[in-house]
């Protein structure tokens, strides 16, 4: 009995122990398991365990035609499904040297940006919820609903659209599309001010996000953290600016950069990106040219023998598609360089020596989508 009482308290606190965060945890937003090594409340090490939703999309692609592959890409990063479709479409069009009609480029750019706004809205609302602001969750989902309604009317579905197809689009946009998009921009310009009012200046939020999970520019490049997370560290990595596709070289928009590299910077970059996306849509929505909604394509697509690489800026970062073709209707190898998979790699580095509660904030600020990690 005496021995137990005399146990040195210090040694218990210094002892490291492991806890599992996930696979079912509200803040991982999906089935990701993080084995966290803790000393007291301090994160000493973090090991992600992936694969709970690994579907073998790359293996499936080897048996599929390029039109079928489009439908699989929706299911990687389901929050920016259009942008994933866009990557494969651009890859096929580039390989076959097909010039898509001007109307298609306009619609694709507008829809991509609407998708980016919807994705950032969902990120914003779940970020607020993770840090204890449940009102954010209702605000974000309320506004995202408007975009999903526009999508549903034109493309027939709300989440997994498969709307783009090599050479163009599945069908033309709905006659209401332009009017509803204009209405949405007007509505959301007013509502985004609430986002700032409720969260951006909130003192609890500032204390939990400023100086937390600092990532320098060197770390961002070395770990390949692209997208808004990389731009918050001052790395100009926007594919829309660096390697423009669709109409991004014709529209005027700013690449949002911040240099702090902390959770708050990543938050502000995404918030400002929504404003830039609205700016892009406003420039295009009134002058969509008349014309075909698809170029003439052969029913069976065979890419010429060779290798192709195509990248687009998804809502989470750089999405790359690497394709090896032997001239048949199926690719030999299809590799998706998904942004969430790469961004997950830095989580261990930037959350070390932070409190476990900060880990939730850091994880949310990286905006990971688990099916995008596992593919």
């Amino acid at each position: 009995m005496k021995e137990i009482i005399n146990l040195p308290v210090q040694s218990i606190e210094e002892e490291e122990y492991h806890i599992n965060m996930g696979p079912q945890h509200p803040s991982t937003h999906g089935v990701l398991r993080l084995v966290v090594t803790l000393q007291g409340e301090i994160v000493k090490k973090l090991q992600p365990h992936c694969g709970y939703i690994h579907r073998g999309i790359e293996k499936m692609c080897e048996k599929d035609t390029f039109q079928q592959i489009i439908h699989l890409t929706d299911r990687m990063d389901y929050l920016s499904a259009h942008i994933n479709n866009h990557a494969v479409c651009l890859l096929v069009e580039g390989a076959l040297e097909v010039e898509v009609p001007e109307r298609v480029k306009y619609i694709r750019t507008i829809v991509d940006e609407l998708n980016r706004i919807a994705s950032h809205q969902l990120w914003w609302c779940s970020f607020g919820m993770d840090l204890g602001g449940l009102t954010c969750f209702f605000y974000g989902l309320r506004d995202r609903e408007h975009i999903l309604d526009i999508f549903e009317e034109s493309f027939g579905s709300r989440l997994l659209h498969s709307y783009y197809t090599p050479g163009g689009l599945m069908q033309d946009i709905h006659p209401n599309f332009q009017k509803r998009t204009r209405d949405f921009i007007k509505y959301f310009r007013r509502k985004i001010r609430d986002y700032d009012r409720i969260l951006s200046g909130n003192v609890i939020f500032l204390n939990r996000s400023q100086g937390i999970g600092v990532m320098s520019k060197e770390i961002a490049i070395n770990y390949g953290v692209s997208g808004p997370s990389g731009r918050a560290s001052g790395w100009a990595c926007d594919i829309r600016k660096k390697y423009p596709y669709a109409l991004y070289d014709k529209v005027d928009f700013k690449e949002i950069l911040r240099t702090d590299g902390d959770t708050y910077a990543r938050y502000m970059v995404r918030l400002d990106e929504m404003r830039e996306s609205m700016k892009i849509i406003e420039q295009l929505i009134d002058n969509i040219p008349e014309g075909d909604y698809t170029a003439k394509m052969k029913p069976i697509i065979r890419l010429p023998e060779g290798e192709y690489y195509q990248r687009v800026e998804s809502a989470r970062g750089e999405l790359g598609v690497y394709c090896i073709s032997d001239g048949n209707k199926n690719p030999v190898r299809m590799k998706f360089r998904t942004p969430s998979f790469v961004n997950l790699g830095v989580l261990d580095k930037i959350s070390r020596n932070m409190k476990i509660a900060d880990l939730v904030a850091i994880g949310a600020s990286l905006d990971l989508v688990i099916p995008d990690i596992d593919r």
Binding site: I221, E307, G320, Y322, L344, V346
Partner: protein, 152 residues
């Protein structure tokens, strides 16, 4: 650096490097034993300054297994593609580049998991998606699984 100069530079560093024509990026096939030397040069040499590994893919060409590296320099904005191949399907091995580009750590674990290619010197080479006791490497062309793969 433009692609002609880049090609000359790589050829002077590793004379055995084989240049592949008509590619999107300047593409070199490297002997596996020269990979580490060249990768270190690419990263450390300030003239080349390849600081961003934007894609690393395992590939099964049928008879050969290999890895394709896509590199980019954020300061000089030139890109490069490197390939290594081996015919050894029993125990394929390459040197790791995870110490140069940390992003390779996850990529290489994925390649080990799905293609069974070992990376010497990798800090933590475990399977990333599948269970540790999974038999075989599913992304290889000769992988068969009558239960889990449904052929239509």
């Amino acid at each position: 650096m433009d692609s002609e100069k880049l090609k000359e530079k790589i050829s002077s560093l590793v004379p055995e490097a084989h240049l592949e024509e008509n590619k999107q990026f300047p593409t070199f096939l490297i002997p596996p034993d020269k990979l580490k030397f060249l990768a270190t040069q690419l990263k450390e040499n300030k003239e080349l300054d390849f600081d961003y590994l934007f894609c690393l893919s395992g590939v099964d060409w049928g008879t050969e297994l290999g890895v394709v590296y896509h590199l980019n320099s954020t300061s000089l904005s030139h890109s490069l593609e490197l390939k290594v191949k081996t015919e050894n399907r029993e125990k394929p091995e390459f040197d790791t580049v995870a110490d140069l580009w940390k992003t390779a750590e996850f990529f290489e674990r994925e390649v080990w998991d799905l293609f069974g290619i070992r990376f010497n010197g990798h800090p933590d080479l475990r399977r990333i998606f599948l269970e540790e006791d999974w038999v075989g490497y599913p992304m290889r062309k000769d992988y068969t699984d009558e239960v889990n793969i449904v052929e239509l």
